[in-house]
Subunit: 240 residues, 6 copies
Amino acid sequence: MRPDNRAREAMRSLRFTRNYTAHAEGSVLVEFGDTKVLCNASVEESVPRFLKGKNQGWITAEYGMLPRSTHSRMGREAARGKQSGRTQEIQRLIGRSLRAAVDLKALGEFTITVDCDVIQADGGTRTAAISGACVALQDAIWWLMENKKLKVNPLKQMIAAISVGVVNGQSVCDLEYVEDSAADTDMNVVMAEDGRMIEVQGTAEGEPFSHEELLELLGLAKGGIEQIIEAQKLALAESK
Amino acid sequence: MRPDNRAREAMRSLRFTRNYTAHAEGSVLVEFGDTKVLCNASVEESVPRFLKGKNQGWITAEYGMLPRSTHSRMGREAARGKQSGRTQEIQRLIGRSLRAAVDLKALGEFTITVDCDVIQADGGTRTAAISGACVALQDAIWWLMENKKLKVNPLKQMIAAISVGVVNGQSVCDLEYVEDSAADTDMNVVMAEDGRMIEVQGTAEGEPFSHEELLELLGLAKGGIEQIIEAQKLALAESK
Amino acid sequence: MRPDNRAREAMRSLRFTRNYTAHAEGSVLVEFGDTKVLCNASVEESVPRFLKGKNQGWITAEYGMLPRSTHSRMGREAARGKQSGRTQEIQRLIGRSLRAAVDLKALGEFTITVDCDVIQADGGTRTAAISGACVALQDAIWWLMENKKLKVNPLKQMIAAISVGVVNGQSVCDLEYVEDSAADTDMNVVMAEDGRMIEVQGTAEGEPFSHEELLELLGLAKGGIEQIIEAQKLALAESK
Amino acid sequence: MRPDNRAREAMRSLRFTRNYTAHAEGSVLVEFGDTKVLCNASVEESVPRFLKGKNQGWITAEYGMLPRSTHSRMGREAARGKQSGRTQEIQRLIGRSLRAAVDLKALGEFTITVDCDVIQADGGTRTAAISGACVALQDAIWWLMENKKLKVNPLKQMIAAISVGVVNGQSVCDLEYVEDSAADTDMNVVMAEDGRMIEVQGTAEGEPFSHEELLELLGLAKGGIEQIIEAQKLALAESK
Amino acid sequence: MRPDNRAREAMRSLRFTRNYTAHAEGSVLVEFGDTKVLCNASVEESVPRFLKGKNQGWITAEYGMLPRSTHSRMGREAARGKQSGRTQEIQRLIGRSLRAAVDLKALGEFTITVDCDVIQADGGTRTAAISGACVALQDAIWWLMENKKLKVNPLKQMIAAISVGVVNGQSVCDLEYVEDSAADTDMNVVMAEDGRMIEVQGTAEGEPFSHEELLELLGLAKGGIEQIIEAQKLALAESK
Amino acid sequence: MRPDNRAREAMRSLRFTRNYTAHAEGSVLVEFGDTKVLCNASVEESVPRFLKGKNQGWITAEYGMLPRSTHSRMGREAARGKQSGRTQEIQRLIGRSLRAAVDLKALGEFTITVDCDVIQADGGTRTAAISGACVALQDAIWWLMENKKLKVNPLKQMIAAISVGVVNGQSVCDLEYVEDSAADTDMNVVMAEDGRMIEVQGTAEGEPFSHEELLELLGLAKGGIEQIIEAQKLALAESK
């Protein structure tokens, strides 16, 4: 039995709040149950040095957790003077996923940086971050279009991400913290609107997993992501 | 004329939202107009090395700004690998102010760390942080008392902080960002409930200021802080 | 056509040279074609702080590239003062994979650190590193057994890793550098001797990939890993 | 009773030794009793990036303590790899204070950096540093004028700084170390020659302080600063 | 008696393997007995900032030890976030020595960086590194000449280095690790082909050393270096 | 001709001022002409971790230059966040030299740290530092004896250091900055009172140097060091 009697394939309640803060070109608070991540997309009229003169744009992401977003307080990365390997791994994943959703040539010489800061953590922060970041990215792109800096929308399709895993021998979708800690296998899937995959990261925490388990997890992920993309679209359909 | 025709001595709208996040022993979102700071107080059953065996507790604070809490995006301190001088100055001020409000002997061998993270900035983030941190601190202390770890409340009295300044030749209270950028003199005052001062920091940004101006600013600060402390107490009077 | 007319499912020439250096308890030079990684396993009679008193051992890994292991010289990480996100991601992956191969309770209170240093790079350094590290780990464990510090072999089964990908619309196994740079999809698979998976990391570099492509890549990976494990076992069958 | 029977309003012996070292454009050893700070002003014919093309100059300061300037040895900041929060706070204060004394437009595109290094500490190092730095700054400006790089003196007026505080219930001026450690309230005041204030920083170390105490401390500070400015002027009146 | 009954003036077996790795313009594995150092010379068509426009080239070196090149594992410098004082001292020595062998004006605006990475350590790693680096440097220079980027060979003469020392009261040449640990005096000598010296660094580890001992050590060094230079030349005489 | 018509073998004026600052157990300002280094010896009643329980003491040193001790301002190492390779090399040399002068067993479990801070630089700062540090060390040892913490003087004999070099084809003693910049060969010699050597570091800055030149430089160094040791003894003979 899952917490709150959730069904194996059920998502936690999903919420995307746009315009959550005032300054960012795109600002979204994404909630997957008790996991809350603030995704702020910032537009800059320049590109990193390695892209100068290549006539294309860039999308990048940074990730952080507020020190007390977690059950017990974690040290502040700014105070310790470096980002952990986990943080760097996650922000590289978010950036890579968002870039797969965008035609960088069509974006032109702009950089969009999406800051994903975890306000409250209850499992699945990286997948919530990717899902929220895509909405913030769309708002930032619309800001560019409204301000006549861009004519065509370079976002090819929405993307979203979900965590799935094997907990107590059962495949489940959208793990919360207590499930995540107990999972034998943990898989994060980033998928596009058309059902194709952008990233699959499956890890055996305890026992290795079989080909059949992998297929079952991918099936659950597909179902979850369809729900997330539907929620993203509903949020984006509201007037800003 | 001030923005929104605010009177010289008027505060922006004040809000203290307790229990803003789920895990911290005290969690308060403080809003001074469009300035929003999340203050999370974390309790730890130990003291720093320099206080071991001295039979007293410790209060400390950390401060950070989300990269896009500001008008244009600031570099993330965790990514740059160090906290700026400004950040360190502010978190030292917050910690020092909170310690002045607490009887550290009566606190016993606990450390309370208050993380003040700016979600949205519009001037006065450090004074909002101090004012919100004091409410979060009270909640964390009550948590200790409810959990029978502490018998007597070691908080001696509430403290709060306000920024005042001389803008266009006029002394004003609770500066927002556009006023702060234009101020000739900028002063932050931390005051206790009994009207006595804990910290006064006045800086001439342009011309030096006179004794008379100093007195006028102190008067404005006193009025503002009385309103803040009233709002703190109202918030704390609600059942948790 | 692949370089050297290699077949889609063919591996490059594989070599595991044991006892490559003199001091490490396990020392293996692994070669996947022109990719050469030195894997040194070091035994320490203690465990990290977070495992103290838990009656189990620990396996960890570090990864590095010699500055001129690559086509053009890369900055030395020690001189720049930090490990890149890529380096940290890879060494976390190696450590996690090796831990999945070992019964940490049966290992007892020893830490084995496997240093994987790339001497020459031509694609697939992380998968070569995992495959070589497992052989070095076995040698280090045998050293513990020969020295009567361990009675039972805690290695549950061999593990190995391979990179597969879609290059020019074709799924191929064991990518070398020129293929890797041109791949649309890139997947690293870590698998155990019994055919079950320990880690699957698939990334769309250009277009997203379909479920069918994923299955095809997994099939290629399985074939490649069987060959690697056979080569590992042959190498380990020789007297030291 | 104060050490050496000093009167409440009395300064320690003051000394400004110009041309203390050979290379700096302005070099002053300032002594407030046993507190000795070497202030070296260096002229550079350029401005920081953020001022490029703005047709003005810049004044900045750095502060450090020799490891054994203090009663017990402090760790060397260069060896620890970072400047403490206290150091950064002090050097920001010195720079800000000096800039308030200078017409940066009239300075032209020069940067003057004043290094304040504490040779021996006995309380009040930051206020001694500001007072000495202003003399070194004047010498550096005269050097620019003698070398025909500047026609008009951009120094608007002298500035100086003093620490005052409440020790054993008594307000006193120019605290030495034993008094500083025992102070209930500690205040640093930076004032210009015309009696107006540039910076006021008052901190309650123990009990909060009242409005009356604040006024009394400001009065003591004014008296002390007048003496310092007189001593600065006497020193500057000597031929170089 | 020395290990393996080596005579006082005898070198360990010497080997220089050119083209050890594939990408570097010069790549040499140097072996002094069980000490093995990989020296990779990389050519870059630019010079450091401080040489821009001065019409000359630059030679520099970096040094590192693989964590388990030594008897017990050393922490990885990249992970600790800084190079030790010893590492920096050695790489400065290697760079300085190589620059003394080259006419930098004749080199033109190229930078050659020689990375010296210790694969296995058994005493004398810095002197082996210098001796191997000079061979790698020659290969890199020949690469420049073959590629018509340079007409004249700027290498003035070969250089080599040896460690000598006083062990158990006896002067010996080319110390291995067990001797090095027991030495009273330790001296590293860098010498050119013409018998003149580039660097002499003698250190009393225990008792000071006399003028006579110094002379005796210099004599041993001269003999050893002649053998090394002969071995370098033999290696360079082979077709690449 | 040397500056000021100094003879080849002549030292600049030498001065050792004891008790230069108030807090250190030994405090010496050493002057070699215009080179001025403050050497403060600090006693601590403990030893570094690697010596715990070994029943011996430790001597160590740190070195720094005030930013404007030099002709043009150098960046502050504390601000840049690390000590340069040159700084580390020098402080390792100073520490090693002082340890050679002391019977560490006889010192007992004390650590003496000598901070050498360059107030004004005109060539030879490291050799002045060693020479001054030895006097400060003696004063710190006497402090230990006066305070009954030590019965026997563990200083075996005085040590001193000098720079010698070949300038314009001529061997000279005690180089000042203009000579140092022009030297072909630069040698630092650390010698004990009995004429034996502790450290010899000779470097060819331009052309390699011959055996004869080396001998000539050693002769000059010996003469210079005898004068320095005489001056040290005179200074130490004065009552404190």
